[in-house]
Assembly symmetry: C2
Homo-oligomer: 137 residues x 2
Amino acid sequence: MKQGNRSRCPINLSLEIWGDKWTLLIIRDMMFVGKRTYGDFLKSEEGISTNILADRLKMLTEKGIIEQSNSPQTRSGSAYKLTPKGIGLLPIMAEIYIWSDAHLDLSDELRDRIQDIKDDRASFIAAVTETLTKDNS
Amino acid sequence: MKQGNRSRCPINLSLEIWGDKWTLLIIRDMMFVGKRTYGDFLKSEEGISTNILADRLKMLTEKGIIEQSNSPQTRSGSAYKLTPKGIGLLPIMAEIYIWSDAHLDLSDELRDRIQDIKDDRASFIAAVTETLTKDNS
DNA sequence: CTGTGTACTTGCAAAACGCAAGTTCTGATA
DNA sequence: TATCAGAACTTGCGTTTTGCAAGTACACAG
């Protein structure tokens, strides 16, 4: 009753969750920019529109990638946080950075920061994971 | 004159290339299933439609991810292959497999195969890279 | 010179997206 | 306690992208 999948391939199943132009940007903002609220995401550089954002937040919640953090009886100031499943996307993100560094035209400043990831990917992942895990408000 | 990007963020720039539901499936087929021709891709389990496939092959060629392999004066049997930029996506693919293994509901058979990747990711990447690099027809 | 296979193109309906404008709470202020 | 601003969505609607079916173009086999 819950099988709307095009196939059971892991790549496909993953793409059915975050294979679009916006979802990973929301996750990026949560991971690296510390954004947590609807309004935060709306202010992102790429300019996501309101209905798409609401749709993705709902979908990501249903898929268990994010959750509402502070048991929101109130709607105002409701904040989201990544679940372990969401935090688990960090290695993928790191590899995207590394690939971009090698094959896309990035600024020197960005290259410097990605160099740190390349130098010690494991501790980069550990460090970010910790900051994401500890603030469980 | 060539700046249609929503931002210069590496994640965003990457998503503008392969951030959709089909592109990474084509790349998956080239990497792991040995598919090379239009007809091959069309037969994939997920059932990509002809116009989308043609569009993506063209886009991936323009972006330098794939190229026509055997200098096709002829159109019949024209085959595609991954460029180094395309092969470079392998670590991302590997991480997607690993994330799927941890957080999605996969078959035991798939888990076994992903275990090999987890056990020695570097040599998995090296092995696949070699098979992709050597057949330069 | 006629079929057959491969590689696309085209047309059209359906879904997703992008933008602007509402709506609904909630907490602060008068 | 009435009002008002802010945050978090929802709704409508025109545009773009997808999905599906059908058609076209070109090489090669016989």
